[in-house]
């Protein structure tokens, strides 16, 4: 019996890992899984890139000149929504199906780290996306106002958290296939009717008032103010994102299931 295992091999030496190490290991796994997944890359990188080139070079939608300056904030907002909402919802739906939440919940990983690791992984992917998209925009002649950079970071983090909370709300409660369908439909609707491709000032008055209350419109409007106009974001955009994020986050703590 004893051949393979020397006595003492499994002598108990339990204990939790260091929180920083756990957080980084979890976040790195989350981020690399996203970047390795072909559909996720299509959603988070290729479609925003295509849209950036399309909006800039093809004169279908009326945009102020230089077109790339108007297109870039919209594409950034889309990239944040794709990763934090659609990507996160679908990943969570299938992770639950495969029992990974239960698996991780059974380790020494504290509950807050279980969430923090996903958030940090998501932020890392968003940062990478924006670097690639900003480089592509620069190639198209984009020169953003440097004054808006700090505000951009604030809005991107806030937007990631808000859309992430919405993604967890969706992906944590429903069956994986339902999550997949809904997350894609919501993404498409918000892209075209949620104030991203067509910003609210291009919409009819009645519709614009409603769309302005959506997180997609708020993030696009905020990023446009910061990057194209070089001003602080309107307070209404920050408040809208905060309300959506807090509401979804609170609701998600009640509805999210491990399996």
């Amino acid at each position: 019996m004893s051949g393979r295992f020397a006595p003492g091999t499994f002598a108990p030496a339990p204990g939790a890992g260091r929180p920083v190490r756990m957080l980084l290991a979890h976040a790195r796994t989350e981020a690399s899984l996203t970047l390795r997944n072909g559909e996720q890359v299509l959603l988070t990188l290729l479609i925003p890139l295509a849209l950036l080139f399309g909006l800039t070079l093809v004169h279908v939608i009326e945009l102020p000149e230089p077109r790339v300056a108007a297109a870039a904030p919209r594409v950034f907002a889309l990239a944040v929504m794709s990763t934090a909402f659609t990507g996160q919802a679908i990943a969570l739906g299938f992770d639950r199906r495969y029992g990974v939440l239960k698996r991780l919940a059974a380790t020494a990983l504290p509950r807050w780290l279980l969430v923090a690791g996903r958030v940090l992984g998501c932020l890392a992917v968003v940062a990478l996306q924006l670097v690639v998209l900003a480089a592509a925009a620069a190639l198209l002649g984009w020169s953003p106002s440097a004054a808006g950079l700090l505000w951009t970071v604030v809005l991107v983090v806030l937007g990631t958290l808000t859309f992430g909370a919405l993604g967890v709300l969706l992906g944590g409660a429903l069956k994986a296939e339902v999550v997949l369908a809904l997350a894609n439909v919501v993404w498409l609707v918000l892209l075209f009717a949620g104030g991203i491709v067509l910003t609210t000032d291009a919409l009819p008055a009645g519709m614009a008032e409603v769309v302005r209350l959506l997180p997609s419109a708020a993030l696009t409007e905020g990023l446009t103010a910061v990057l194209a106009d070089g001003t602080a974001p309107p307070a209404s955009t920050v408040v809208t994102l905060l309300v959506w994020g807090a509401g979804a986050g609170l609701l998600a703590t009640r509805t999210t299931k491990l399996v």
Binding site: M1, S2, R4, F5, P7, G8, T9, F10, A11, P12, A13, P14, G15, A16, G17, R21, M22, A25, H26, T29, L33, R36, N37, F94, D95, R97, Y98, G99, V100, K102, R103, L104, A105, A106, T107, A108, L109, P110, R111, L258
Partner: protein, 308 residues
């Protein structure tokens, strides 16, 4: 080390109108192996998941390493290893990558590369989880349960879906864990597994404990009672055989073509049975004498008919 590894009493857990566990109780000592044995739907997994802190009991007392798994889960989890039923990993994660992640959560983990190798997963260490076979997924899940050098391990149907070689390996691992002082609570519906591994077997059925003890205690009968069993064509007249045997022997045909002689089975009884078979012109196949098996006990307690 005086507190038991697991102590459960009067555990009740219902899901809506269905009562999954209706008053289960048992005790697992440090460094011992306890098998929860029962048919599907007996309440084994629910019981284990309550001990792991995944489910809140409706009533009853559950102490794991002296802690309440629900309210003191954060202190408990670093000390236990869990192998949930049906594995658990990201669909796209590579086997070694998953194990390294779980290892990062522990203070003094085993070497993931070594464990991957020992469990025969070296050939698929870079394969995404969803493309692993069922047995490979099970072995990865077992590795995740052991990597943190826990004091207590929960293994929910650890050998389900494994080939015989992998099953032997798991048995050997459980033996090594026990030798190193790790307590193991495992569930199984394989008698052979419970008999081979467990110091203490708790047979559950319909959410209740129907028997418990060491395998030897459970299979013991009267001091001299033994069993002789053989296979032959079905429908032999057992009354005739009883008449030929010494006083006190009983003969039954529990399933068609399988005969069981119970009583004081001495060489004379064996000879009488074979002679009687010869008289009937039938060949007694697979004739053997022994104590009753855990399977006999299990089937006597839980019934022979197939459950839905």
């Amino acid at each position: 080390m005086s507190t038991p590894a697991v102590e459960v009493s009067d555990l009740v857990k219902s899901y809506g109108p269905t009562t999954a566990v209706a008053g289960v109780g048992f005790r697992l000592d440090r460094g011992a192996v306890l098998a929860l044995l029962g048919p599907n739907g007996a309440g084994k997994t629910t019981t284990v998941e309550v001990c792991e802190g995944f489910r809140r009991p409706d009533s009853g007392r559950v102490q794991v390493l002296g802690l309440d798994p629900v309210t003191e889960g954060a202190a408990l989890r670093p000390r236990i290893g869990v192998m949930p039923q049906g594995g658990g990993a990201y669909p796209g994660v590579r086997a070694a990558e998953m194990l390294r992640l779980v290892a990062a959560c522990a203070a003094n983990p085993l070497d993931p590369a070594w464990l991957i190798d020992v469990l025969g997963l070296a050939g698929c260490a870079r394969t995404p989880y969803k493309r692993l076979s069922g047995g490979q997924q099970q072995r990865l899940s077992l590795a995740c349960a052991l990597i943190g050098r826990p004091e207590l391990v929960f293994l929910d149907e650890p050998t389900a879906g494994m080939d015989p070689q992998a099953r032997r390996l798991v048995w050997e691992l459980v033996g090594a864990l026990r030798a190193d002082g790790v307590a193991v609570l495992l569930t199984t519906h394989l008698m052979e597994e419970a008999e081979a591994l467990a110091d203490h077997v708790v047979i559950v059925d319909g959410g209740r404990v129907v028997a418990e003890g060491t395998p030897a205690e459970l299979t013991a009968e009267g001091p001299d009672e033994q069993r002789l069993r053989f296979r032959a064509k079905s429908g032999l007249d057992t009354a005739l055989l009883v008449a030929a045997l010494p006083e006190g022997c009983r003969v039954t045909e529990p399933t068609a073509g399988e005969y069981l002689v119970t009583g004081v089975v001495d060489p004379q009884v064996v000879s009488t049975v074979t002679a009687w078979c010869a008289q009937q012109g039938v060949l007694a196949e697979e004739l053997r004498v022994g104590r009753r098996s855990l399977e006999d006990v299990f089937l006597e307690l839980t019934g022979r008919e197939l459950r839905s």
